[in-house]
């Protein structure tokens, strides 16, 4: 069929001799089968970490933010580091599903579902930190512009912190709706296959009664396209606004005009790294190696290489400008000679190593296409990107304008516990998702099977049609 033509030099996205039914079976298998030992082990570890985190959060709320290692100068440290880190991770999902949809990248179809799930779960974790950092969590609703008993004292729309409230909540809710709309046909597939009455009931509920009429599909595709168009500027706006939390302040090191694009690139960098980490494990555990292939890994590594390059240029720019101003205050920022040789030298060099140097290995094609290497490098990037935020926040705050107030930040066990807890919570959500949700957008994969399936490509190229 000429309408399914794709250039022969393009590698197939779906390996093996798959029929539409095979795709259904492959994607339903992890849900219909029983979990293996590895799953239970991972789940138990995540659950313990999560419970430990709940304990630490309860302790924080019960006693006060004083249980953290914060001091007069360093008024936010791990909490906002974690917040920005998680929000950054939450950028890849919508980027994959929205930006790549607009660019008609077919390879996104194997990974968009899980990347979006990751986005949503990561934004949950991110949202937790500003809330508990308030100290009085029960007053959290004060960030909303609602009439109140203080003589209608409204929220301050001039503040980037309030922009954040709007950006993150819009991002979370729109991503959720985008994700769920895409899930409807796949839930319907599971519903129509389910044998156990309880499963059938649950998936019938989740699928909203999706029937797959031609008109529904027409609307579905239009809605997906428009949502992608809306989500593209949205995803860029979110980390732009997060960066404005810093960039609009008058603090050397934070007061930087390049923060918005630099943060957005960093977010995509870390987000893709996290997708790489998760899918590296998931494709093995769920036997979806035919759908999440070396080619997908390579494409993601290319995005990592590009955004990592942007981040590296941003670091160099920050470093150069700090030196070029000749201002002594700039020598206390995270990208300066003072930063590289000061008490936090190790955090500085860890950042350079993890975010600039090691990712350069991806220029080598064999490394870029290797599952193991990609996995290892993605973890290195995750660590590096955490340290980027740590450096920006803690290094800069540790040396303010008044030398007598200079101090260091020592995390308490509560700081560490809350962070580990969010990793556990994230793990719990993702593992439950992997057992109950269709982890690949099977309806979309079916629509590209004839275009980009290995068998179909071979048949077509053999015929020289």
């Amino acid at each position: 069929m000429s309408s399914h033509y794709e250039a022969p030099i393009r590698e197939p996205l779906v390996l093996g001799d798959k029929s539409y039914h095979d795709i259904t079976v492959d994607i339903a298998k992890p849900i219909e089968g029983k979990a293996n030992k590895n799953w239970y082990m991972a789940f138990t570890i995540s659950l313990i970490a999560f419970l430990w985190g709940i304990g630490c959060i309860s302790y924080t709320i019960g006693t006060g933010v004083g249980v953290w290692g914060l001091n007069k100068n360093i008024g936010w440290a791990w909490d906002i580091t974690n917040f920005v880190w998680w929000v950054g991770i939450g950028h890849a999902g919508t980027l994959i599903s929205a930006v790549l949809l607009l660019f008609r990248q077919r390879w996104r179809m194997a990974i968009n579902r899980s990347a979006e799930a990751m986005t949503i779960f990561a934004v949950f974790q991110a949202g937790l930190f500003p809330l508990i950092h308030m100290g009085r969590v029960w007053n959290g609703y004060w960030v909303l512009p609602i009439p109140n008993q203080f003589g209608s004292l409204w929220v301050n729309f001039n503040s980037p912190l309030l922009w954040d409230v709007f950006a993150i909540s819009t991002y979370l809710s729109v991503s959720l709706v985008f994700w769920w709309t895409g899930l409807l046909p796949d839930f319907a597939m599971l519903r129509d296959r389910a044998i156990k009455p309880f499963q059938k009931k649950i998936y019938a509920l989740l699928s909203f009664g999706w029937s797959g009429r031609a008109k529904d599909w027409q609307r579905f595709e239009e809605v997906s396209l428009v949502l992608a168009g809306l989500a593209t500027p949205l995803v860029l706006s979110v980390h732009t606004i997060v960066s404005m939390d810093f960039a609009t302040s008058v603090n050397p090191g934070w007061h930087s005009t390049i923060f918005p694009p630099y943060f957005v690139a960093g977010a995509i960098f870390s987000g893709f790294a996290m997708v790489q980490t998760l899918l590296g494990i998931m494709r093995k555990v769920t036997n979806l190696e035919n759908y999440i292939t070396r080619l997908h890994v390579e494409y993601m590594n290319m995005v990592i290489l590009l955004t990592g390059g942007i981040v590296a240029v941003a670091y160099i720019t920050e470093f150069f400008i700090a030196w070029y101003t000749g201002s002594p205050y700039e020598n206390f920022t995270y990208m300066s000679v003072g930063g590289a040789t000061g008490p936090y030298w190790w955090a500085f060099w860890l950042l350079i190593l993890c975010n600039i140097l090691i990712p350069q290995l991806l220029w080598v094609k064999n490394i870029r296409r290797s599952f193991i290497w990609s996995f290892v490098i993605s973890i290195v990037i995750n660590i590096g990107m955490w340290f980027e935020r740590f450096d920006i926040i803690v290094m800069i705050l540790s040396k303010g304008h008044l030398p007598s107030t200079w101090s260091r930040f020592e995390p308490t066990f509560v700081d560490i516990g809350v962070f580990i807890g969010t990793i556990g919570f994230f793990g719990v959500l993702f593992l439950l998702y992997a057992r109950t949700f269709p982890v690949i957008a099977q309806a979309e994969v079916k629509s590209i099977l004839k275009v980009s399936g290995e068998k179909h490509k071979q048949l077509r190229d053999g015929n020289h049609e």
Partner: protein, 174 residues
């Protein structure tokens, strides 16, 4: 009026597309086609009108933008103007740059959510809605064409057989 319908089931999207064109060519009205994934060009072949959801989204977006302008003006300028950090809020236009993020986010919020709600309402999908696909295989790998039958059951059946249907069922609809 006769309430009989024919369900012709296909197992390939290309065969289905050709069948739809043939059935349309023979001047039959196709009531419905159920497919497991979006088949490109099917809506045009069936003669479905283009959807206007994108237009509604645009209108919802404008609503969101207007709401954001009204809200920032009412809360920051009209109801309780404050002087925050030496930056007084006397006029909406002067303070406007600080409201751009809010205006943008609310535009997207309204455009996205109201469009999706409109889609759900128009396609009649919501929690606890019962599925209406007549055959469970249509979410897996089969394609089902539904045509209402008048006095032409035989001709229609033979036409559908010719188009490559793997299964043809005549069904009484209540």
């Amino acid at each position: 009026m006769n309430n009989k319908v024919i369900h012709a089931i296909y197992n390939d999207d290309d065969i289905l597309m050709d069948a739809v064109k043939k059935v349309k060519g023979a001047h039959y009205h196709i009531d419905e086609v159920f497919t497991p994934f979006p088949v490109h060009g099917l809506d045009k072949a069936m003669g479905l009108a283009p959807t206007r959801l994108a237009i509604t989204s645009f209108l919802y977006g404008i609503t969101g933008l207007s709401f954001a302008i009204w809200m920032t003006n009412y809360m920051m300028i009209a109801d309780w103007p404050q002087d925050i950090g030496g930056k007084p809020n006397f006029s909406w236009f002067v303070s406007m740059p600080a409201f751009v993020p809010i205006m943008f986010e609310l535009t997207v919020f309204f455009a996205a959510h109201l469009m999706v709600i409109t889609f759900y309402m128009r396609s009649r999908i919501w929690p606890f809605k019962a599925a209406e696909n007549p055959d469970v295989r249509t979410t897996d790998d089969h394609f089902l064409m539904e045509i209402s039958v008048g006095n032409n059951e035989k001709e229609l059946t033979s036409l559908l057989k010719e188009t490559g249907a793997v299964e043809i069922n005549v069904i009484d609809k209540d």
